[in-house]
Amino acid sequence: MVLRLLTGWLFLYEGVVKAVNPDWSSAGFLLDSGGFMAGFFRMLASDPTTLSIVDFMNVWGLVAIGLGLITGCLTRVALISGMVLLGFYYLSHPPLVATRYAVPSEGSYLWVNKNLIQLAVMFVLYHFPTERIYGIDRFIFGKNS
């Protein structure tokens, strides 16, 4: 449960910070993409309409996932969405041998980075449904364990 709360907090704050900043855009991050899917992510950034959809989904997705994990509400949906988001983050900036990014990284990574670890954490959480004990899902899906 603690792991779930911590992960939720991380997501919620990331989302809220972006939601309150009128100038925030994923454009810089997307344009900086590397690896074999870089073309796809850059394409997302090139069209203003697509970009605004990506921005909206990312910001409110982060907020919703954060809230879901903290309150234990629709937790499995939140976890799956979170893993998909993290998958995108990972694939847009994979720490390959030869990739270099403009976005500064606070650590040193090779193949494995924090996004991947976080993704694995969410995978573990998926298999330990603490939300059925401490969480609103207890009312929705019935208590467990």
Binding site: W9, S25, G28, A45, D47, I70, A102, K143
Partner: protein
């Protein structure tokens, strides 16, 4: 996370009204975490707001983009003539809304094959300036034909699509200037033709948009200023950097003393390719038959027909003003816009032809140092055409420094007197900018992260969203046209142009003569 004591009861499904008090407590057990989150979040928000407020208070800057509304483009139609359609001519015509159908097709294709390429959409969305191109003149017939096709392309069409009437092609610029159906001229010819054409046009009562630099020789600089003043035509020199938002914001910061007493300005040119070093391609159809060589020579010393000299004229003093007139002037004009210091008191130069040893006479490496005695500051211009090492425009003051490009970044100096208190209290971090401004963003940002700082420095942020990008040349032309229609003085008027040209000439004379050249303010003479 199992609960040993209540294991049996917990395994029962909770449905309908079967909630026990324990169920509700457990189900909502984690909700208070949201309270903690909200508490932490608002504390953080308040801290950042305080920080931002304190920084903006201490730098005394508003958090707004410069207020510079678009000049109106409506009013009577202005009939233009374009003289010179080599490199800059087509760019200016494009900024006015006229592009050769080939170029429209090329932009359109580029936008289809590369979604990131927004140039076509930007061109199509560019406001109509309500002008007609009535006459064109280029002494190379291929360019003249292209100018004619561009001038007729009033619908911004591709090949095979609808266009308007063809403008008249004049073989001699004097005929174009004399044409009664032309109100204003755009001069985008080699440097040695700028002043004579501007003088001729002004005398004929035609408004003038002239490419930089204003003049090729010192003498004609006085003459062109005199004629423009006497005739009262609206004159704009083609330093489109005047329209750059970051420069306007930089001026605001300098006026407010954000970086304290400025003592050194470093401006640079860094290029490293043949095109950047003016080694332009030679057109396959160019020949003595298609080029009016005598008209090209004009006031320059006679030289036999030379394709190199015609297409790469910037490499010879005979037609060019070298790095001083071509690129230093951009940098000087940007700083003159910010500081308004006018002509420097003195100049020294050094440099040479170190890399492009291709027969050119102008240097490819040049340093010129200007002193401004009233302002008590030095402006150093340093240029190389053979290294891309980016050095930017840096303004150094006692309390901070400023880097100006398309964006603006200001740092406090760690030994600043003005910010001493804020630095010691941790409100200002000298490693992070105290202010960044990226055009297109809604606000000036006083608290920036390392990532934002990185992107702002490279102009990468927000380029593809929000307010649409506008060509600065379009804005510069638009300002000129608005002054013709509604009165007023363009931002790079004849006085600014005079300052620009004299400054460039001082740098060039200092280079040629290897001495310190001075400006006598009283007599308005270079000595």
């Amino acid at each position: 996370m199992s609960n040993e004591n209540n294991k049996e009861r917990d395994t029962e499904p909770v449905k309908g009204d079967n909630f026990t008090r324990r169920d509700v407590l457990k189900g909502l057990a984690t909700v208070p975490v949201l309270g903690a989150f909200a508490y932490a979040y608002f504390k953080k928000r308040r801290y950042e707001k305080m920080l931002r407020g304190n920084i903006l208070d201490s730098v005394d800057m508003t958090a707004a983009a410069p207020d510079h509304p678009l000049p109106p483009a409506t009013g009577h139609t202005i009939r233009l003539g374009i003289i010179g359609f080599g490199i800059r001519g087509p760019q200016i015509a494009k900024a006015a809304g006229f592009l050769h159908p080939d170029d429209v097709d090329a932009l359109r294709e580029a936008s289809v094959s590369n979604g990131k390429d927004t140039r076509y959409a930007e061109f199509m969305e560019q406001d109509n300036l309500n002008v007609e191109i009535r006459g064109v003149c280029d002494i190379f017939s291929v360019y003249a034909d292209r100018a004619r096709a561009a001038g007729a392309n009033i619908y911004r069409s591709g090949n095979g699509e609808k266009t308007g009437d063809m403008p008249v092609v004049y073989r001699n610029y004097k005929e174009l200037i004399a044409a009664p159906d032309i109100d204003a001229v755009i001069i985008s010819t080699p440097d040695h033709w700028h002043a004579p054409m501007a003088i001729e046009a002004a005398r004929a009562g035609k408004h003038v948009y002239c490419e930089k630099p204003l003049s090729w020789s010192v003498e004609e600089t006085y003459e062109v200023r005199k004629v423009i003043r006497e005739t009262g035509v609206v004159f704009q020199l083609g330093h489109q950097g005047r329209q750059t938002e970051a420069y306007m914001k930089a001026k605001e910061a300098i006026d407010k003393g954000v970086i304290g007493k400025v003592n050194l300005i470093e401006v640079t040119t860094n290029r490293n390719d043949p095109n950047g070093a003016w080694v332009y391609p030679i057109h396959e159809k160019a020949s003595p038959e298609t080029i009016d060589w005598e008209q090209f020579i004009g006031q320059a010393p006679w030289h036999d027909f030379s394709l190199e000299r015609f297409f790469r004229w910037r490499c010879w003093w005979d037609y060019s003003t070298g790095l001083s007139g071509d690129l230093l002037t951009h940098e000087f004009d940007a700083m003159n816009q910010i500081f308004g210091f006018g002509i420097p008191d003195s100049a020294v130069s050094s440099g040479g032809i170190y890399f492009f040893r291709d027969g050119r006479t102008v240097p490819d490496v040049l340093q010129t140092v200007f002193e401004f005695e009233n302002e008590k500051l030095t402006m150093l211009y340093s240029a190389t055409l053979a290294s891309n090492r980016s050095r930017g425009k840096v303004i150094m003051g006692h309390d901070g420094s400023m880097e100006v490009s398309n964006s603006l970044i200001i740092y406090a100096d760690r030994a600043s007197t003005k910010y001493k208190k804020e630095i010691s209290e941790g409100i200002i971090d000298t490693e992070l900018p105290i202010l960044t401004f990226t055009p297109g963003r809604k606000n000036v940002d006083a608290v920036t992260s390392a990532t934002e700082q990185y992107f702002a420095g490279r102009g990468l942020l927000y380029t593809y969203r929000g307010g649409r990008r506008i060509d600065t040349t379009h804005l510069h032309l638009r300002e000129w046209l608005s002054c013709i229609r509604n009165g007023g003085t363009p931002s790079c008027n004849i006085d600014q142009a005079f300052e620009e040209a004299i400054t460039a000439h001082m740098g060039t004379i200092a280079y040629h003569e290897g001495r310190k050249v001075r400006w006598d303010r009283e007599k308005e003479l270079i000595i």
